[in-house]
Assembly symmetry: C2
Homo-oligomer: 168 residues x 2
């Protein structure tokens, strides 16, 4: 497994990061309009479980997550982005591990996330990170999906990982 990239610094996100992030994410997602899915509120009110990764002062990636307010012990990863030129070197893993650490520090013992079943790279990544897939209908490649989870035709794969004490 690749060693963590020591040229990248991960730090808590701040409101000042918001305009930077929304100015790049549509391009990072190959032109899809993503900015509406990431309102500023996460950069204001969830800064202790959301992180920016920087290389030489530029944005290399970010993770937006939170502790569930109404489900004690549960944390949720909402949105993760990695600069196209930074992919494949373990930065996603570093961001997730930083989040797991923050979630544990906040009293959580499990983490959830969802993704689209067509996003096979994301499904494979979550499996490598130790997430299980929640039961559902049989989707592409036999992966269990929650049909219409995010609206009509918007099936989602639901991931769940239990955090071990100390390790990840």
């Amino acid at each position: 497994m690749a060693k963590p990239d020591t040229g990248v610094r991960i730090r808590p996100i701040s409101p000042a990061d918001y305009l930077t992030v929304i100015s790049v994410i549509d391009a990072w997602w190959g032109g899809r309009r993503m900015a509406d899915m990431l309102p500023r509120l996460f950069f204001e009110h969830f800064t202790d479980t959301s992180f920016a990764a920087e290389r030489d002062g530029g944005l290399a990636g970010f993770l937006v997550g939170f502790r569930s307010q109404s489900r004690p012990g549960e944390a949720y990863i909402h949105f993760v982005g990695v600069h196209p030129g930074e992919r494949g070197h373990g930065l996603g893993r570093q961001l997730y591990e930083r989040f797991f650490e923050a979630a544990r520090a906040g009293g959580c013992d499990r983490v959830r996330a969802v993704t689209s079943p067509v996003n096979r790279g994301s499904v494979a990544f979550h499996r490598r990170m130790g997430f299980g897939i929640e039961p559902g209908e049989a989707g592409p490649d036999g992966i269990a999906v929650a049909a219409g989870y995010d609206g009509e035709g918007q099936d989602r794969v639901r991931f769940l990982k239990y955090l071990a004490d100390g390790g990840s």
Copy 2:
């Protein structure tokens, strides 16, 4: 002032409300695409500060809000919708008051919200509800706006209300 409408029941929101809400909100907003701004996570993880209003089993309105995770004592109202046929009868006020109550019960002493400066109805509503407007540049009608708050050209009026003990 109008008396609260006793034919409407306000209750905590639940995941089962999500598909109902996103199926109506674009129409409630006159056709604007709003569903992306309201991800399902609020209906899963913030159900103790988010509410649905029902009349005869149908959705009359809803409010999605939360307690700030990283700013103790602060609460935030993200999204409020009222059925076009239910407007002008105090349902928005009822939803806000229910949220203030939940915010106080959760240890908060202040509530924030933002709106677009062109939404004069929303600016007037928040003033009636006791919100002050945070300092900013002079916008339409001399209202202070935070320029580019939600991205380029996306100015916002920022509201802040301190909650009194007991009352609203």
